[in-house]
């Protein structure tokens, strides 16, 4: 599915002294099968943006389009099944007695047959390396385990677009790597992923395209090398290194990922 936001504005508490314009006309598209990274600092409107993708929040003005159709015309359950949203700290919403039951919540709500529900629970837990936790109580797990289970709970809907809001916040490096690997795996299945994060390094590793959000506006959208090299203030560590080297050695090119930078530097060193 192709998801598109057109000139989306969102005002919280309109007409009160606490009125805040969180989104000031955001336009961006998510192509099928891509990982779109959305980066921006705190208060840039990332989380508000995320909640517009399945219309948990409705735009004050502007439109959300699903395959070119106005998403507001779609039944909400269908939209929310196709656009899976994982909130920041999603483990705060774990509730069932066992992990398996919790992950089964969404597919059951979809009215799937019990056999299919079980298949989806197994698959999504497996995908996040958490199948061995299925019989445990979600409240007795470690932080990283809870996070994986919570994401599996959304993945079990088998959404066409998966929106992840700061999915790695507060995770240890190993769990984080595993999670990023799982995200890349989903792209392989033709699903699209919206990866929202303030961590430029991890966005650089997974994103096919990057949108830069600032104060409720899209500052730039494009291929990672374009965005990161043209906006030096928002460049991941690897890009900052490559940019320094590039001043003297233009041959380094515009690598973005850690591995690409390493290879470029290696080539430079061996080539003299």
């Amino acid at each position: 599915m192709r998801l598109e936001l057109r000139e989306v504005r969102h005002v919280y508490a309109p007409g009160t002294p606490r009125e805040v314009e969180a989104l000031r006309g955001v336009s961006l598209g998510v192509e099928p099968g891509e990982v779109l990274g959305v980066v921006g600092g705190t208060g840039s409107g990332k989380s508000t943006l995320a909640q517009h993708m399945n219309l948990l929040l409705e735009p004050t003005s502007g439109r959300v389009l699903a395959d070119g159709r106005d998403a507001r015309a779609m039944p909400r359950p269908e939209l929310r099944r196709k656009v899976g949203l994982v909130f920041q700290f999603p483990e705060a919403a774990l509730f069932a007695a066992t992990v398996g039951e919790d992950v089964a919540f969404a597919p059951r709500r979809m009215g799937l047959a019990e056999e299919e529900v079980r298949r989806r629970v197994r698959r999504s837990l497996e995908r996040l390396g958490a199948l061995h936790l299925a019989g445990r109580s979600p409240h007795a797990l470690s932080g990283g385990e809870k996070r994986r289970v919570a994401i599996a709970g959304v993945l079990a809907m088998e959404p066409e677009v998966l929106v992840l809001d700061e999915p790695t916040a507060g995770l240890d490096p190993a769990t984080r790597e595993e999670l990023l690997g799982a995200v890349l795996g989903m792209r392989g299945e033709g699903r699209s992923v919206v990866f929202i994060s303030h961590d430029l390094d991890e966005v650089a590793e997974v994103a096919d395209r990057v949108c830069l959000l600032e104060a409720g506006r899209v500052l730039a959208c494009g291929r990672p090398e374009e965005v990161f090299y043209e906006h030096p203030e928002t460049a991941p560590a690897a890009v900052r290194v490559a940019r320094e080297v590039r001043r003297e050695h233009p041959r380094v090119g515009r690598p973005v990922r850690f591995g690409e930078v390493r290879e470029a530097l290696r080539g430079l060193l061996s080539g003299g």
Partner: protein
Amino acid sequence: MTMVGGGSSIGQYYPAPSPLHALDPRAKLLAAAALVVGLFLVDSMAGMLLVLAAVGVAAAISRVPPGAFGRLLRPVLFIVALTALFQVLFSREGPLLVGWGPLEVHEGGVRTGVFLALRIALLVTSAALVTATTPPVALADAMEDLLSPLRRLRFPAHEMAMMMTIALRFIPTLDEEAQKIMRAQAARGADFSEGGVAGRLRAVLPVLVPLTVGAFRRADELAEAMESRGYRGGEGRTRYRELRFGWRDVATLGAAVLLTGGAAAL
């Protein structure tokens, strides 16, 4: 999807630069208490009207929008109307005003009905005047101070006030948390508009369980944070905001007591 109300309905504090806001919270509490006692002692219409006028003047001084009192009164309005109606219809005191078959309206009934309605409405309004013009924390401090003589009888005044303060402090936090959880479950297909007992329960459990788990976690964290900052209960504890009873407070309290006495005597 239904969401929990925006928080402004609970707490009911309306910040405004009014003389009523500036009063010592103890004075306001005691004055309101005096007024409440007065309301129960008054048995003449003149006395009731005197209290009504006094509460009206206080409400005007407070600069709290009248709509705020209206919202507070709305839930009790039904009870007020019902009790007044019962009095009007079933009391057989005084001369008969209207008779219609078995239904008889007597003058005494109308009088008690109006009286009861005014009494309840004024009761709620004077309590609302205190909560609307006093920040919850100041109110808890005042309660602690007023209850402190009871400490000799081993009544935990400080602990009560601290519990109240903490509870009030966490209402907006829990409200926010509940909304977050509801949205997260809605993203997983939860439907909060479902009807029927089973449907309601199905919708409520996925919110209630994580909310409770979160509240316990928060309580633990708060207890640890308080202990690590040296909190050891009320003994010998000083306050950042000292309560001061000034001449305005004495005057207000005096006026309230006089008014009560006057209204009861009328």
